[in-house]
Amino acid sequence: MKKKEIAITVNDLHVYYRDMKRFSLKKGGLKEKGSGKLFKAIKGVTFEVPKGQILGICGKNGSGKSTLLRAISGIFSPDHGSINLHGNSISLLSIGVGFQKQLTGYENIYLSGMLLGYTREEIDKKVNEIIEFSELGDFVYKPVRSYSSGMYSKLAFSITAILETDIILIDEVLSVGDIHFKEKSYNKMKELISDESRTVVIVSHSTKTIVELCDKVIWLHDGLIKAEGDPATIMQEYEEFMRAEA
């Protein structure tokens, strides 16, 4: 493998929400483009993530963090600029992707796994590990609708954590479950992260998470990068800034 391989390249990224609502006939038929205010969620963000790096993203609510993650994961298309993943597989770690609430946790593991592009055999190999990690015990054979919200998140976390992709995007889910599970998932994250080939992007408000886990942090503010660099320094600035604003 080459040294300092780049895993994610984001170049001058813009993502806009066009407030076109969902037009109805009253508003003039099947015209697609046209009126509608433009809301700029991301206005020109450029950065690179080398392979194996753990990047933290912080910023206040509405600063575009989640939008950025979704753009990287391919859910949104950029309105301007580009995102290059250099052929890496990617998953956005978030709660309950594609769960069918009537089905059992076990069946949902397969459903989510296949949604992420794994074959049945690959999931067969990992399914016990997932069940064990999720601590659901026999509940895994019960319908997901009977789960508590904590159990639900545990299952979701376990699926993405154990079915490994090259790039993992995490949107504030480290606060999942009780203290015990939190620590466990935290350690699992550390373990995943220690794997040199894995690239991770974490969105979080928690200074502790970012300082402990990340190699680098980007501070997003109103859709732009306000600062980037060493986690400890930036997070201190960020906290001061947030307090001043409050």
Binding site: Y17, R18, M20, K21, R22, F23, S24, L25, L30, E32, R70, S73, G74, I75, F76, S77, S91, L92, S94, G96, V97, G98, F99, Q100, Q102, L103, E107, Y110, L111, M114, L115, L116, G117, Y118, T119, R120, P143
Partner: protein, 262 residues
């Protein structure tokens, strides 16, 4: 097109599994479970047969089979179109969290409804035996006609799915249009004998693809004849064309769907 085939390969496991999951979800909480998959169409058919046969005294030969065929195809088309208009919105939990080619959602729905249609046709065959309908080799035309129906439906649905994301009113319009086509399709009556004006008959039977498919399906299953294929073939190519346009449009716009739905 190449991308479509690659995505199809990549997601075929998911499509199969999700289809099964959705079917299971529908029956999981009922006492009779999977039996509903047969009981439901059977019950509806019997109701229609009763209304049309006893009340309106239809004279069509093998009337229950006749209605059964019409409804199997119609229900498939109808359910698919209605579902496709709202399909992206109904799957927002999935589409806001992970990228998947949006036509995959449609294919899962297709899987569910094709399964139901097959069950429905299994009942048709049972009825055919029960009513002693003469069976000939022409019955084998069943398969190509079914394929044409599926392709055409898929084509219509890709287009509906795309506009359904943007147009709030579309589902109302679609419901009205479907109701109209329902009555024009001749599910309870035989267009070819009821309508004597040649021009109208051509319009109703050939230019309405659904009527055309149902007419031919009855020809091959009940009347031991081979299909009158020209228009069916034309509608097959229209279906392919619509699918291609639909898939291209979906690929082009699918990443804006999520933004619109917020």
């Amino acid at each position: 097109m190449k991308r479509f085939i690659n995505d199809l390969k990549k997601y075929k496991n998911y499509i199969a599994y999700a289809t099964w999951a959705e079917l299971k979800t529908e029956v999981i909480n009922s006492y009779l479970g999977w039996a509903w998959m047969i009981l439901e169409p059977l019950a509806f058919m019997l109701i229609y047969v009763f209304i049309a046969g006893v009340i309106f005294k239809s004279t069509v030969q093998y009337f229950p089979v006749f209605v059964f065929i019409g409804l199997s195809i119609w229900n498939f088309f109808n359910k698919m179109v209605v579902a496709s208009v709202k399909i992206v919105a109904n799957n927002r939990d999935t589409v806001t969290k992970v990228y998947l080619p949006k036509f995959v959602l449609l294919l899962v729905k297709m899987g569910v409804n094709i399964f139901k249609m097959i069950v429905s046709f299994a009942l048709v065959f049972l009825f055919m035996i029960f009513y002693k309908v003469p069976i000939t080799w022409n019955v084998l035309w069943f398969i190509p006609i079914l394929i044409v129906t599926i392709v055409f439906t898929f084509g219509v649905c890709t287009i509906m799915m795309h506009f359904g994301v943007f147009a709030e009113d579309l589902s109302n319009l679609v419901n009205i249009a479907l109701r109209m086509v329902f009555y024009l399709t001749g599910i309870f009556f035989d267009i070819s004998t009821k309508v004597h004006n040649v021009l109208y008959r051509t319009i109703l039977l050939d230019l309405n693809p659904l009527a055309n498919f149902i007419f031919n399906m009855r020809n091959v299953l009940i009347y031991s004849s081979s299909p009158v294929g020209m228009w069916t073939l034309i509608w097959f190519f229209v279906g392919i064309l619509l699918s291609m346009i639909g898939i291209n449009t979906i690929y082009k716009y699918e990443n804006t769907y999520v933004k619109v739905m917020r």
